[in-house]
Subunit: 304 residues, 4 copies
C-alpha cells in the first residue's frame, strides 16, 4: 500500500504554491464569490481507510458532478430504458452542442452533457413522487449523511441566468424528448446542480461506483454491469472537452463540476475527491487536475 | 397594360384543377383545420386599379408574412441601429438554424428567419409603449383598415407548442441579444404572427414597399433606401430554403407564411397577394407559388 | 437617359481618392503582384452606346466571374439536367462550405460557390471535345474578341496552391458527383478562372445576360427563362458571403472575382463592369462595390 | 487464472452460430472478396502463455489498426511534438469529420480518426529515411516477424477510390498541417493501412502497449507515460462512433479496422486480437465485438 498520507500532503503542499490558480466560474452569479484559495482533497480507499488534507470538509456546489448521481438513480428506477432517450458516445465539440442536438433529432449524445442531463432530470421528474426531495434523499442515502442540502440561492441564480439550458430543454421538447414541462424539469435540474457537499461526502456518495453498485450503507443500488456503464461514460465524457486529456493524465473515470469539484475512482480500490474553485480554460478545476495527475503518477494506480 | 383580369382568371382556373394542393401546416394546431381548397388572388397595381379572384376576401393567418411588417416598423423606430443586432445575408440551411446562431455568437443571419424576427420583436417590445396594441395599429394604418385583428386562439396555440422558438429566444438571451424577458418577447411574436388578414388587406399593407415607403394613406413611413433594403431581403431570404427557387421562378421580392399566404411586389408597379393553405415540402404555398410563377411569366413583369 | 459619362467620371474621381483601397488577394501567388491603384469602369447600355473611364482596357484575371460564363455554357449544352447535380439556393456561411457539402451528400448548394462551379466544370469536361480550347472559344465568341486568353502562370499558380479546391473536388468525387478525374476537372477549372479580360470585354461577354440570351453577335445562346435563372442566381449567390449586402446596396444581379473584377447588369438596360484589385474583408472589390452603389443610386436604375 | 482455453472455445462456438455475421466492407474493392465466415481469436497473456482458436493464423488487412502502430512510431521519433499537430479528444460525429476539421482550423481532433492519422503519416514521411520500408520494418520488429508485408493490391485499390482521404489531406494542406505532398503522404498512408497480419502477429505487435512500452524483443520503444497516452486514446477514440459503446461493453483500450480485426489489451495482463470480416453498422467487426464483450464478462478482466 502506498503511503497515502504522505503523498496527499506532498501533492497539497506543491499545488497550493501555484501562482495561477485558475478562475472562479462567474456565469452563475452566486458561485462567483467563492474564495479561489480553497483547496481540499479526500481519499476513501477500499481497505485502508480514508485520508484527507486542506478544505476537505467545506461544502461547495457540486454542479455537474450531480449528473453522475442523477444518472445512477435514473438507471435504478427504469434500467436500460434510459438509453432509448440518450446515447453513450462522446460529444466532441462543446460549442456546437445545440447543433449536434438538432442534427441528431433531439437525442443527446450522452447523459453527462447538459442536454443529456436534462433528459435524465426529466426521467427523474416522471418517476419520483416528490422529485426534489426524493433525489436529495437519494444522495443523502448514498453518503449516509442527512445534512446534505440544496443551496436555494444557487439554484435560483441559475434559474435566472441559465438561458442556454432553457434553449436546450426547449429544443428537446420540440423533438418530443422531454415529457414534463420545461420549467418543471429545469427547476429540478437547477436544484440537482445546486446540492452542496464536502469532499468527504462526495467520496462517500461515489463509493458505490467503485464498489459494484453497493453503497457505503451496504445497499445494492445498481448492478455491476450498470456501474461499468456509468464508469465508462465518466471516463469518455466526464470532463467536457477535456475528457481525452483527463483519461490520459489521470487515467481514472471521474466527473467534474464548475464549482471546482472533481471526483474520480478506481474500481475496487478507491474514490478520490478534490475541490479547488479556480477553473482552467476548459472549465475543469485547475489545482484538482494537477493533484489527481500527481496522485495517479505517484501511486501508480490508474486504469491504464 | 396586360389584361390583368383575364390573366388572373386563367391562372386561377388552371391552379384550382391541381390534384395535389399541398398539405396544410399542422404544427400549429389551430391552423390545421383550414380547408385546403381555399384559393384567392388579389392584385393592386400602381396606376390601373385592383383585380381579384377567388377567396381574396377571406381572412387567414399571415404568420411569417408579418416579419416584413415588423421589420418595417422597427426600422421606422430606430433606423439602421437594427443592423447592429441582425445581419442581412441568406441563411442557407434551415435545419441547422440554431447551429448557425451558436457559431455566429447570437447574431441572426437576417430578420426574416425566426431567430432574426425574434430580435426584431424584441426591438418593438423595447420601443413601443403598448407593443401588441401599437403594432396592430401600425398594420391597421398601413392597410387603412381597423377591422384587422389578432386571432388569440392561434397566438395561444403557438405559445403552447412553439418550443423551437423558445429555444431560439433563450439562445439569443444567452448571447445577450435579447433585452426583454423571453416570455414577453415571444408573447408579442406569437401575436404578431397570429394577425389575420385577407389578400386585399395584405396587398394594401405591402403597397408601401412598392411605393418608396409611402403607404396607401400617403404617409412616408420609411425612406426609399430603407425600402430597398427590405425588398432586397425579401428577395434573398423571404422564402425559407426556397428563396433561390422563388427568385428564379417568380422573380419578385416577397414573403410567404405557413398560413398559406404569399405577398410579392414589383417596385413602382404592383403588389400581388395569393392565399392557398396547402404547402409544398419547403413550407411555401403550393398553389401560390404556381400562380405567381404564371403571373410573372404571362405578364412578363419581374425584376429580371 | 442619365448623363452616364458625367456620372461615371464623378464616381471615378470620388473613388480613387479613397485612402483604403482594400487588399490585393495573395492566396494565388501570381495575383499578389497586381498594382492596387488600378481602377476602371466600363458601361455598355442597350440603346445608348458604351461609356468608360480609367483602366477599363487593361486585362485582369476574371477568376470567379468565369463561373457565370461556364454555367451558361453548361446550360447551353445539357439544359436543365444541370440542376440534377447542383441546387440553386444561397449557401449561407462560407467557412463551413465543405461541411454543407458533407451534410447535403455532395450536392453543392449553387453553381457559383466553388464546389458547385467544380461540378459545372465537370459537366463541361464531359461535354466538350477539347474542353479548355472550346470554353475559351465560347468566351471569345460571347465577347467577339479572339485575343482573350488564359494566363497559364495564374492557372499553374492555383494548381499548386489550391488545396481547398482539391479537397472539395475529392469530396464531390466521394459522393459520385464528379464524373471525370479530379486532376482533369481542376485543370480545366483553374484555367477557366485564369482567363484574362478587360472591363469592356467582360461587358460584351455578359451582354447576353441582359439581352434574353442573345449575345452581341446576335446569336441566341440560352433561352429567356435560362437567363432569368442565371440572373436570379447571380443576385442571390454572386457575392460570396456579401450577396445580401450587394443586393441591397447595388440592387443588380452580378458576379465578382478575387482578381478585383465585378460585372453587374440590369435586364434590357445595361451591363457594367468595374475593376479594382483591392478587396474588402468579404473578398469583393472595395472600390468596385463603392462605384456600383454610387452608380445605381445616382442613375436610380436597379431592380428594386 | 481463468481457464482461457475453455473460455475462448466457448466464445468461439457461440459466436460462429450467429446468423447475422455483419457485412464485409466494400468501399475498398479488394477487401470486398473476403469470406464473411472467417473468425479467429488470439490471446497473449503476460505470464500464462498464449491461447487461440479458429482462423487466428490467417492474414487479413489490418487497416485502421495500423493507426496505433504509426502513432507509436511517430511518438518514438519526435515525442510530444506530435501533439502540436493533432489533439487528443474524441471527435463525436463521424459524418461531419471534414466540418470539424474546418472549424478547428486544420488540427484534427485525435490521431485515430482519418484526418489525424494522415497527419501522423506526414510526420513519419518527414522523419523516416525510406518511409514505407522503415515503417514495415518497425512493425516487423514489434511482432518479431519478417514475413509481415504490405498487400500492394489493397494499397492501390484504396489509392484509386479513397476520395474522402484525398479531401481530408488537401484540407489539411490548405491549413498548412501537412508538410509533404498530398500524394506522397497518402501513398504512405494507404500502404500503412494495407499491411496484412494474423491475429497472433497483432497480439505480438501490440504487446508493447500492455507492457509499458517494451516490445516482445525486450526493447523499450516508448515510455510508460507515452503508452498511457496511446491507451487512453484507444479507449476514448479507437472505435469510430462506437467508442463509448466499446468502453462500456468491453472495457478495454483497443483499435478496430474495417478489415474486421480488433486488438484490445489490459495493461500488465494481456493482449487479445479477434478477426471476423463482417462489420456492424458502425464499421466495427460484429463477431469481434461480441467475442470481446463475452471475454471480459466471463474473465471479469477489464479496466472498469
Amino acid at each position: 500500500m502506498p503511503d497515502y498520507k504522505a503523498i496527499l500532503n506532498t501533492i497539497y503542499q506543491e499545488a497550493i504554491k501555484a501562482k495561477d490558480k485558475g478562475i472562479v466560474a462567474s456565469y452563475i452569479p452566486e458561485l462567483a464569490h467563492v474564495d479561489v484559495t480553497n483547496f481540499g482533497i479526500h481519499l476513501k480507499t477500499y481497505n485502508h481507510g480514508s485520508f484527507s488534507v486542506g478544505d476537505f470538509n467545506k461544502k461547495f456546489s457540486i454542479q455537474s458532478i450531480s449528473k453522475a448521481l442523477a444518472l445512477a438513480e435514473a438507471i435504478e428506477l427504469i434500467g436500460d430504458a434510459v438509453w432509448n432517450r440518450v446515447t453513450v458516445e462522446p460529444s466532441g465539440h462543446p460549442f456546437n452542442q445545440l447543433a449536434l442536438l438538432e442534427i441528431e433529432n433531439g437525442i443527446p449524445r450522452n447523459p453527462l452533457i447538459n442536454a443529456g442531463a436534462i433528459v435524465i432530470a426529466d426521467i427523474l421528474v416522471s418517476n419520483l413522487k416528490n422529485p426534489k426531495q426524493d433525489f436529495l434523499n437519494y444522495v443523502r442515502g448514498l453518503a449516509n449523511d442527512n445534512t446534505i442540502n440544496y443551496n436555494k440561492a444557487v439554484a435560483n441564480s441559475e434559474k435566472i441566468t441559465g438561458y442556454k439550458n432553457f434553449a436546450a430543454a426547449n429544443l428537446l421538447k420540440s423533438f418530443k424528448n422531454l415529457n414534463n414541462p420545461v420549467d418543471e424539469v429545469l427547476d429540478f435540474y437547477f436544484h440537482q446542480c445546486a446540492i452542496e457537499m464536502t469532499c468527504s461526502q462526495l467520496s462517500d456518495a461515489f463509493f458505490m461506483f467503485s464498489n459494484n453498485g453497493i453503497c457505503i450503507q451496504n445497499k445494492q443500488h445498481i448492478t455491476d454491469r450498470q456501474v461499468k456503464r456509468i464508469n465508462a461514460l465518466m471516463l469518455t465524457c466526464g470532463f467536457y472537452d477535456e475528457a481525452g486529456e483527463f483519461a490520459f493524465k489521470v487515467g481514472l473515470p471521474g466527473k467534474s463540476g464548475v464549482g471546482g469539484g472533481i471526483v474520480a475512482l478506481l474500481p475496487d480500490k478507491f474514490v478520490i475527491t478534490t475541490w479547488a474553485p479556480g477553473l482552467n480554460k476548459k472549465g475543469n478545476s485547475k489545482l484538482g487536475m494537477l493533484a489527481l495527475e500527481q496522485f495517479t503518477t505517484q501511486t501508480k494506480q490508474s486504469i491504464f
